[in-house]
Amino acid sequence: MTEFLMPSLGADMEDGTLVKWRKKSDDTVKRGDIIAEVETQKGLIEIEVFDEGVIEKLLIKEGEKVPVGTPMALINPDGAEVETKKEIASMKKEVNLQPIEEKAEQKVMEKSTKEIRIRVTPIAKKIAQDKGVDLSQITGTGENGAITKDDVENAIVQKGERSKTEKGEKPVEKLVEVEPEKTGAQPSEPELYKIEKQPVEVKKERALTPAEAIRSAVAAAMSKSNREIPHYYLEKRVDMSKAMAWMKETNRERPIQKRLLPAALFIKAVASSLDEVSELNAIWENGLQLKNEINIGFVVSLRTGGIIVPVILQADSKSVGEIMEILNDIIPRARALKLRSSELSDSTITITNIGDGSADKVFGVIYPPQVAIIGFGNITEQAFAENGMLGIRPVVDVTLAGDHRATDGITGSRFLGSLDKYLQNPESL
């Protein structure tokens, strides 16, 4: 039995509507006979039969619309052979040609978080990746401030080692600044960076990993401090109950991400105290030089080891809330080593806050050329006597290390007194 299928009359013909049968069951048909009229998008077309035989059965009704290839009738060819062949093979092969589609454009939006997208040229990025250079430390000189190959290469080299005069670039900042620059006892190049000597002309440097670099820098600074600065040490135990109560009260009205932590309070208290005892907000460079701005550096420990000291500029003019915001922003970036060099410079005094560690007190080492460093231990519950009464209060042990060339113990003492006073009146901060 042969199936007569709805024929394909064009590549774009998908279906046809049977308008009229021109033959019926038991009719004999021969090749070329018109078997039906079919309506298509191009109009009414007479369709012909290519087989010979007797129509056994009409399978669809007049008015029915069927896709191309649908059996419309059964034809019994002359003879009794029963054969059903489906003649319409699927001719369309999936051809994978060159990709013609374009991927949908992906617009890169500036992230709304505090991460800033760095503009850098492809080759500069490649070199920076290869050499382990932190792009966030570099100011770009390319189009729209893009970091170029030259900018990266300059950053790799120590300041003062090479002068490239042909392009007049701006001075480039270093990877990590632990202390303000000073000539003279400046650690020379080999301490911070290793340069492998190659027989080839081409300069090859392997920069230290960030952790190694930091360790070295810290080592240098601390050694210098120990060598040059005569330290005196003072300490005071401060009752934190009022401060903690005040914080609790204030935090009740604050959303979670804006809640205050003791560190912010300490920083503000220190700043206010320095207003009163300004001799400690100074540097020692052939004599005491008082500083107008109170820029407080605070020590952040790094997971990879080492420390980094970001700075809160003009801490005296900021509220505790503002200081907290700055801490929330700076500390994660500090840990990720994504600080700008401006955030590492110009501190006039340093706070070290062991805080979350297990030590009760910390005696710091002064960062030259500063003249003091203040240390805050853990806030712990201790027995506290006041007015003849013994109680259990939250307390913090505050220490002050001072440069004895610049100040005497009495100055430091006055400072600690002032600090205590502020911490007893936190609402005044």
Partner: protein, 339 residues
């Protein structure tokens, strides 16, 4: 539906010498074309052949009648309705069918399909799908023959639709101006796709267009093989002798639609039936039987031969292979090194 007035010039009443062998061959050729085209239609409805399919049914006498006057060295250029011309030229039916199937065993490696049959060995230059696009090339080929002092001519087939295109007019002018041996054969089947000639030509007697360019022209009844042979022999001889172009208009009719997907809304079924009565193949068969150049038995034999040849062609195409996709970018530039 409007009827198209058919303008038919008188045929020359000349006695043509036709030996039996050649007559049988010509009959075979027309029958081969007819049955081949029928089979192509069938294969198309089964989706074996895709794209456009333009069938020559009804016009067989023109291709067969003209091409018999040409030699193997003569060039032939055609339109996209060229299966009949390809077969009349002696191209293998299997190679043509395989080409329409898209198989790489096709005469154009499957790259062209129904509209682009080519065979360089038979000086058969397509298979051209831009209406009138091949006319200037025909003139150029004839120009080359003249410059190279070769004796071959170029035969260019096109429809009356092409006679409206600018390229027709430019080609006629250039051919006459340069005096090159090209035979322009205009197959006037009265419809340019779906538009009747009275809607497309201000001068419907197309043979009169030649005069405007100084090209000798005539018209012939394209439904009668003997008439076409007569006219073609004369035209070809003139082109060969004079080295100048000639325009031969063959008035004919296609029994089927322009292409497969055509509802023929533009012409009357009665008109088609009228023309079918003048089917060139039964007419020639009658003529041969009357002249006793052929017997019924011989006719049957030829029919069987044609059936078997076409079946072989289909089998050949079915068995053909697909060109590997990684060869896609072949044949864009020649393999010979450009320096």
């Amino acid at each position: 539906m409007n009827k198209t007035k058919i303008l038919m010039p008188k045929t020359k009443s000349k006695k043509i010498d036709l030996d039996a062998k050649k007559a049988h061959h010509l009959f075979y050729q027309m029958l081969l074309i007819r049955k081949f085209e029928d089979k192509a239609a069938e294969e198309y409805t089964k989706a074996k052949i895709r794209g456009f399919l333009h069938l020559y049914i009804g016009e067989e006498a023109v291709a067969v009648g003209v091409i018999q006057a040409l030699t193997d060295e003569d060039n032939i250029l055609c339109t996209y309705r060229e299966h009949g011309h390809a077969l009349a030229r002696g191209m293998d039916a299997g190679a043509i069918m395989a080409e329409m199937y898209g198989k790489q065993e096709g005469c154009s490696r499957g790259r062209g399909g129904s509209m682009h049959l080519f065979d360089k060995s038979k000086n058969f230059f397509g298979g051209n799908a831009i209406v009138a696009g091949h006319l200037p090339m025909s003139v150029g080929m004839a120009l080359a023959s003249k410059k190279q002092k070769k004796n071959n001519i170029t035969c260019c087939f096109f429809g009356e639709g092409a006679a409206a295109e600018g390229e027709f007019h430019e080609a006629m002018n250039l051919a006459a101006l340069w005096k090159v041996p090209v035979l322009f054969v205009c197959e006037n089947n009265l419809y340019a796709m779906g538009t009747a000639i009275r809607y497309t030509h201000s001068m419907q007697e197309l043979e009169k267009k030649g005069a405007g360019y100084g090209v000798e022209s005539s018209a012939v009844n394209g439904m009668n093989l003997m008439a076409v042979i007569d006219a073609a022999n004369e035209a070809v001889q003139k082109v060969r002798d004079n080295g100048k172009p000639y325009l031969l208009v063959c008035n004919t009719y296609r029994f089927r639609a322009h292409s497969m997907f055509d509802a023929e809304l533009y012409r009357d079924k009665k008109e088609v039936e009228e023309w079918k009565k003048r089917d060139p193949i039964p007419e020639f068969q009658e003529f041969l039987l009357k002249q006793k150049i052929i017997t019924e038995k011989e006719i049957k034999k030829i029919e069987n031969q044609v059936d078997s040849e076409i079946q072989k062609a289909v089998d050949f195409a079915e068995a053909g292979t697909w060109e590997p996709i990684d060869q896609l970018t072949e044949f864009v530039y020649s393999k010979k090194e450009t320096k």
